[in-house]
Assembly symmetry: C2
Homo-oligomer: 191 residues x 2
């Protein structure tokens, strides 16, 4: 595990996705790992932390999550722009070497039998909360966050520090096709 | 209605929130209008367009949406930083003049009996899809988008143009407390 990666308190986990980044969703089932891109992910609760993610019925990762009951949501960086776009375009169903082609490197975190994508800025290990009606009708999945980690070069003391970190560590915010925005400058409202 | 505001095709409505902005949620019931801030909003479907929004049980706006079955999700701008923070802090339950204190100006759009917040960059008129289990257990509300509009100075031809518009029109992305990030620079992946 990269020496920059440190655990994040679970009561601060929602902050990792509060600013609306596009994420990578990864899962493991029956000895196979997969990763997909998702813009439609959202925090749902603080304590215990939960989140929602929309997973299309055509997605192989969805099928694996339904079977394994677990997944990782990770926040990719500007440096991973091409990887994020490729992982969001190829499907494991027709491209068995999708991860290799996309340049995805995986690593493990002790206590979690899940594939974590290297080079991201934050990771949330999730346990699926089965809600068959939401999954079937809306493609909407709910996860409880059971572990959270971040790259301390850009997230520490419970908050992002994009403005002080290298700009390659900024989060990506998907628009459409291959088009994204990076997160920008900090603003603070007066009390 | 401001001369910069034009309708957005419903099949492009999800793009208004795809990049994860913090939004304002507004509702009208029994002659009362209210507005709240929400970071936990997310696209859910393209056709018909749907979205999810998390509304805490303590929120007066939630109660109004449950009764009226309709609400507006709008994307505020950097110029509205202070308004967004104030609207997210005060509650109508104890502050009857919350909107006045926050500097909120409302306008109407023909065919929709809903309060729209002036000065935002995009508006999505939504019809509540009642899902009592989600609402009760998760504070999770699903809306179908029945009308969408944007300020053409920053969203046109079905996409955002933050990089070409005045920086005061950029979207806000909430972190915690009074802290936000503005959306940043565009990035395009290669095919």
């Amino acid at each position: 595990m990269d020496s920059h990666i440190f655990p994040v308190d679970l009561d601060k986990a929602s902050r990792l996705i509060n600013h609306g980044p596009t994420v990578l969703v990864s899962a493991r089932h029956a000895g196979v790992d997969n990763v997909m891109t998702a813009a439609w992910v959202c925090a749902l609760d603080f304590e215990p932390p939960k989140l929602t993610v929309v997973l299309d019925k055509s997605s192989k990762t969805r099928e694996m999550i339904e079977k394994s009951g677990a997944f990782v949501i990770q926040v990719p960086t500007v440096a991973q722009l091409q990887l994020v776009n490729t992982v969001g375009t190829l499907t494991l169903a027709t491209e068995p070497d999708k991860l290799k082609k996309s340049g995805v490197e995986l690593f493990g975190i002790k206590g979690h039998d899940l594939p974590f994508v290297a080079g991201c800025s934050a990771w949330l290990a999730c346990k699926l909360i089965p809600e068959p009606h939401n999954q079937l009708i809306y493609d909407l999945f709910i996860g409880e966050v059971v572990g959270a980690w971040a790259d301390v070069r850009v997230f520490s003391d419970g908050r992002w520090h994009f403005e002080d970190a290298d700009s390659s560590l900024r989060s990506l915010h998907h628009v459409a096709g291959g088009n994204f925005y990076a997160i920008g400058e900090p603003l603070t409202a007066q009390d």
